[in-house]
Structure formats: C-alpha cells, structure tokens
C-alpha cells in the first residue's frame, strides 16, 4: 500500500532526486533529520502505522475524496475533465494528508509538540487541527504580513488551541516563516517535531511528504479505473512547494499520462529559477545574480514561494513532468468559470491549474483529451480577497 510507482521512487540514501534534494541544515538539526528519517522508514513499512494513518484519514480526514466529472466545463473546453476533490478533505485542502501522517509520527517518536510554518494559513490550520486531534502542543510561524492578510485563519488556529507567532524578519511572508520555524526547531528538537507543509526542506521531508500525499494519486487512479475512464491523457496540479502535485503525480508517474505542474508566474521556480540551496534542500530557486533569494509574488499566498520541491526540480529537468506558469490576471477568470459552470469555488492556488487548462484547451491540450485536475483546495479562504479585487476592478 505504501509503495510509490517506480518512476517517482525513493531518493538515494542521502535524499537526492538526481542532482536535487539532500540535506542542507545546521548541524543542530541533523540529528533530528536523521531520527525522522529512521522513524518514517520504520513507520511507513509498519502495517500498524499504515492502518492507523489510513483509518485517521478515512474517519477524520474524509478520505477517499471523490473524483468528480466536470461535464459543463468539459463541454465548454472540448475536453473530458475530472477533478480529484481535495477541497472536500477536512480543513479544505490536501494539507491534511501530510499533517495526519506527521503528527502520528510525532507521537511515535515520543515528541509532544509540533511547530509549523504557514503562508495563507492552510497548512497552519491543518497542523493545528491534527495537533488538537492528537493532543500535541502546536506553534505556527506565520509572516507578519500574512497574519494581517489572513486574520481569520490566525483565529481559526487559535480556536484549535495553537499559538501563532508573527514573523517580523525579512519579507515577513512564507519564506521567512520557514526560516523562523527552522530557527526555533534548533532550540527545541528534543521534544518538538517540525511539521513541514510541502515536499521541500531537508531529506526526508520531500520524500516523506510526497509519500504521505501519494494517497491522492493512488486513490484517483483507482477511481478513474472504476469509473471506466482509465488512464488520463493529462494530470494537472498547481505547484507551490509542490505537495499536491507530487501526491497526484505519484499515482500516474508510471503511466502514459502527461504530468503538468502549474506555478504562479510570480513564483515560477522552474520557469524563472536556477539551481540553488535554500531551506535545507538543493532545488530550483528564484534568485538574483548574486544568489540572493528573491521574493515570490502571487495573488495566492500558497504559491508565494521562491522555490519548488527538489523532486519536481528533478522531474522538470528529466522531462518526466512539465511546468507551466499562470499570471494573476488569468486566475480570477478560472475561479469564476469553475464556480459558475460546476458549482465548485476552488482555492486561488488551484485556480492556477484550472486557468492553464482553460488557456491550453485545444492548444497544448488536444481536443478530447481526458484531463485529471487535482482540485487541491476550496476557495472559501479566498472569497474575501477575490471580492476585494473584483470590486477594485469595477
């Protein structure tokens, strides 16, 4: 049950996917990374752990999430579209899959507390949720700018019993929240697990988070089979750090399906980035000529990240997956179209994937293609922002 298809197989012993990945962390954190790797390997091959993980995701997390045919959007675009509904998972996105796994692991390691970084707050809310469920203390680091943009998500985390710490360093957004969480982890590794929110960071995180998210692709492939659709021609997902994309790709990496990750144009690590080292990993990063990391800029906080998970960097350079980017202006139309035609308001992150499909239908996507869209999250968290923008436009 736990095995990923062999194309997206395990990284090497030191966590490399081709030239990317690895571990680039202060020595203070190395023991914790090593401990985590051992613990995860052990847990992931333990049937009892697998059973608990699956049971919690089923009973608490709302899995399996359905695959929904999108008949009206399909008609409009001349495609055969299906959506994997991570928006229906508990807390409203795929993030829960990862945090359930990591909090169970935290308990297994005998730790009593988790910390996490968050951008818009989705991963923070998910972490606070799982921590509440398992009785772990929880502290979430969030850029001060984001705490102000996402007041309600801060309150949501507080309701769930978590402490939210506004990060005032650097650009005061996600990138700095990661830095701060790492800094804090240094001082509390003994009783605290750092619950990283995407397929990034030092080994084993990129691999572990992909494994924990692979349930998306594994489910979807079986569901499409059961629905008589078979293997899709195309699998499309938005990419911030890349966890929802990695999760869905994992189910199709060894099929004939084209895999497409859609980045925000203002945070396009594949499109505009180059190899570099940040946040514990070697990957593709947006950086200036001197190797200083640049700030990403996107309408969607969840894609507002200057890097991408190392496995994606590998998939991109090896050609197994393609990465495209979509600008802020195209995103709102996509959000509106999916809402009006299919009754699903997607997250702004997800809307990037929708926008790319809209744009390329009949172009890069041949008419009649069977397309699986990973609907990574719901848009409820974004409606206030979208409303402001649309009002501003008027």
């Amino acid at each position: 049950m736990s095995e990923s298809p062999s194309f997206m197989s395990s990284p090497d012993a030191r966590g490399h996917f081709g030239e990317f990945g690895g571990r680039f962390v202060p020595e203070a954190l190395m023991p914790a990374c090593l401990e985590l790797e051992v613990a995860f390997r052990d847990a992931w091959s333990d049937d009892a752990f697998q059973l608990e993980y699956r049971t919690v995701l089923k009973e608490f997390g709302g899995r399996p999430t359905p695959v929904t045919p999108l008949p009206r959007l399909s008609d409009r675009l001349g495609l055969e579209l299906y959506a994997k509904r991570e928006d229906l998972a508990h807390t409203g996105s795929h993030k829960i899959n990862n945090v359930v796994g990591q909090t169970l692991l935290t308990k297994r390691m005998g730790k009593t507390r988790v910390i996490a970084e968050t951008g818009a707050g989705q991963h923070g809310v998910a972490t606070a949720t799982a921590a509440a469920r398992f009785g772990l203390a929880c502290t979430v680091y969030m850029g001060e700018v984001d705490t102000k943009r996402q007041v309600l998500n801060v309150f949501r985390m507080e309701l769930l019993g978590a402490t939210v710490i506004p990060v005032t360093s650097g650009s005061r957004t996600l990138k700095d929240a990661v830095n701060e969480a790492m800094r804090e982890w240094v001082s509390c590794v003994s009783d605290t697990h750092y619950c990283l929110g995407s397929v990034m960071g030092p080994h084993p995180f990129p691999w572990m988070v992909r494994e924990l998210q692979s349930i998306i692709g594994i489910e979807a492939s079986a569901q499409l089979e059961e629905m008589g659709v078979g293997t899709p021609d195309l699998v499309v997902a938005c990419v911030g750090g890349g966890s929802n994309a990695a999760g869905v790709f994992a189910g199709f990496a060894n099929t004939s399906a084209r895999l497409v990750g859609v980045e925000a144009a203002g945070g396009s690590a594949v499109g505009k980035g180059s190899p570099g080292v940040l946040h514990g990993m070697k990957s593709l990063l947006i950086q200036d000529e001197f190797g200083q990391i640049e700030e990403a800029h996107s309408i969607s906080a969840g894609l507002d990240y200057p890097g991408i998970g190392p496995e994606h960097a590998f998939l991109a350079t090896s050609g197994r997956a393609e990465y495209e980017s979509i600008g802020d202006d195209e995103v709102l139309d996509a959000l509106k179209l999916l809402s009006e035609l299919e009754g699903i308001i997607p997250a702004l992150e997800t809307a990037h994937a929708v926008a790319w499909i809209m744009k390329e239908a009949g172009g890069a996507i041949p008419k009649g293609s069977k397309v699986l869209l990973n609907l990574s999250g719901r848009g409820d968290k974004d409606v206030a922002q979208v409303r402001e923008i649309l009002r501003g436009e008027r």
């Binding site: 690895g22 571990r23 790492m182 800094r183 001082s187 180059s274 570099g276 080292v277 070697k282």
Partner: protein, 269 residues
C-alpha cells in the same frame, strides 16, 4: 594540513586562547577598519560574514546586520574588493550560507576567497554529508572547511565532524540560533566529545555575549567566537574606538582567566 589549521595549532601551542570576532561584511562603509581595530585590540582571527538573504541560523541582530548590508549592495565580489585594502596578519575565515558559493560556482568562489586572503570557510547549512564538492573545490586553494558541532550531535556525529573539520572545530554552545546566551552544560559535552576524537583546536561560539562568558568558555576550549554582541554594537553606531574597547575587554577577560573555569562547575550545580 591546511595553512589555517597550522596557524591555529601554533597559536594554541603558544598558550594563547583564540579570540575570534564576527563581522557582517559591508555593514558599514568602513567595516574593514572595524576589522583592523579588532585585530589591534587582540583578535586572533576574523570571521567575515558574507550576507545571505535567508540567514537561517542567525538571530535577529545578525539578521538585521545582514539585511542592512544587502541593502547597501554588498556582494561576494564587493567584499573581496574591500578586503584587498585590508592590512592584517591574522587569519580570515568566511562565514556564509551555501547558496552564495553554490551560485557563484564552487571553484570560482574558493579561488576568489583565496585571492582575497581568506583561508577558511564556515558554511552552517553545508552538512558534512553534502560537503564533498565544496571540499574538493577548496583543496586547490588551501581553504579550510570548518564544521560546527552542536549539543544535539550524537557522539558518532561529533566524531565525524571533529575529524572532518579543518582549522578548528566550531562548538556551538547551545541549541539555539546565534544571539542567545550560552548554556554551560551543552558546551561542555560537545567539547569533551570532540576532544576525545581529535586534537584539532576547539572554539566555542554561539551565545558568547559578555567578557565573562568569553572568559568562562575560553577556560574549557581553545578559543571563543563573538558575534551578535559585536554586531549589535556596530548597529548601535559603535565606532572604531568602541570596537577596540569592546574587543579589548574580551581579550582582557580571556587573558586573566584562572586555570579552571566556573563556566562548567556553575552549570553543574
């Protein structure tokens, strides 16, 4: 054995405890004069901090210094240019995050450092496991790669790092980012573990903020690194004179230390 380590070993042989101040390069236009002042006041080697946008292991003070320096336009090249005007006899050690060198090109970076008189490098996010390429790049230019050991390092890892490090072994005094005060118990074990494996000099850093802490740390090690407190002084506008006084007070405390330290016994109470 690389030049840096030869020099630091002979310093130890001379019976002198090393005092190593850390400067954020480019923080002020006259930063090289700050370095010279520190040497004048008794510094035995200098850590040259090359600013990186995401200083993951640094605390707020150094972050602030790094940010200001970046805003002033500091780059690896500008730092090396500044260093060409520096006249000093003590070893210079670069301290930065790996991406700066990686992006510059590892061999090109090592050559550049060497040409500027730098003989060692501390790269806190470069783990020993990932250090092979950098190490190879440095060998031609005789640049020493210095590893940090942490209180959380298992004895196995301390052994690995203490035997892999060149120049000195950087013992972080506590599980925290730079800028928090030292924890005696943490430092004690790491130093003991390192010494059990290797006779490379061991310097204590991270958390040394006062002359007293420096004195105590020097009594159980071969030297101390002072970073945050000095950067704070410069951020607060401290001039060459103030830096001389500051370093002088650390020098004095270290040189007048009794044979055995309270730094450890205190902590054991």
């Amino acid at each position: 054995m690389k030049l840096l380590e030869q020099q630091l070993r002979s310093l130890r042989s001379s019976g002198r405890k090393a005092l190593v101040p850390y400067f954020v390069a480019g923080l002020t236009p006259d930063w090289t004069q700050h370095v010279e002042a520190a040497v004048l006041a008794g510094a035995d080697a200098i850590e040259i901090g090359i600013p990186f946008s995401d200083p993951m292991i640094d605390g707020v003070v150094i972050q602030e210094g790094v940010l200001r320096s970046l805003e002033a336009g500091t780059t690896l090249d500008s730092i090396c240019k500044d260093l060409s005007s520096l006249s000093t006899h003590v070893p210079l050690v670069a301290m930065t995050y790996y991406n700066i060198f990686f992006h510059y090109g590892l061999e090109r970076a090592a050559g550049k450092l060497a040409a500027s008189g730098i003989t060692g490098a501390i790269v806190p996010d470069l783990t020993i496991e990932e250090s092979r390429e950098w190490h190879d790049a440095c060998d031609a230019d005789d640049i020493a790669t210095i590893f940090i050991v942490a209180p959380s390092s298992t004895p196995d890892r301390v052994a690995l790092l203490a035997s892999g490090t060149e120049g000195f072994c950087y013992a972080s005094a506590r599980m925290a980012v730079t800028g928090r005060s030292a924890d005696a118990v943490d430092a004690k074990r790491v130093i003991a573990d390192a010494r059990a494996i290797s006779d490379v000099p061991v310097y204590v850093g991270i958390g040394i903020g006062t002359p007293e802490q420096a004195r105590d740390a020097s009594m159980v090690s071969d030297g101390v690194i002072v970073g945050t407190a000095l950067v704070q002084l410069i951020l607060d506008g401290g001039d060459v004179r103030a830096i001389e006084d500051f370093i002088g007070s650390f020098r004095l405390a270290i040189d007048t230390a009794p044979a055995r330290s309270d730094f450890l016994s205190d902590a054991e109470e």
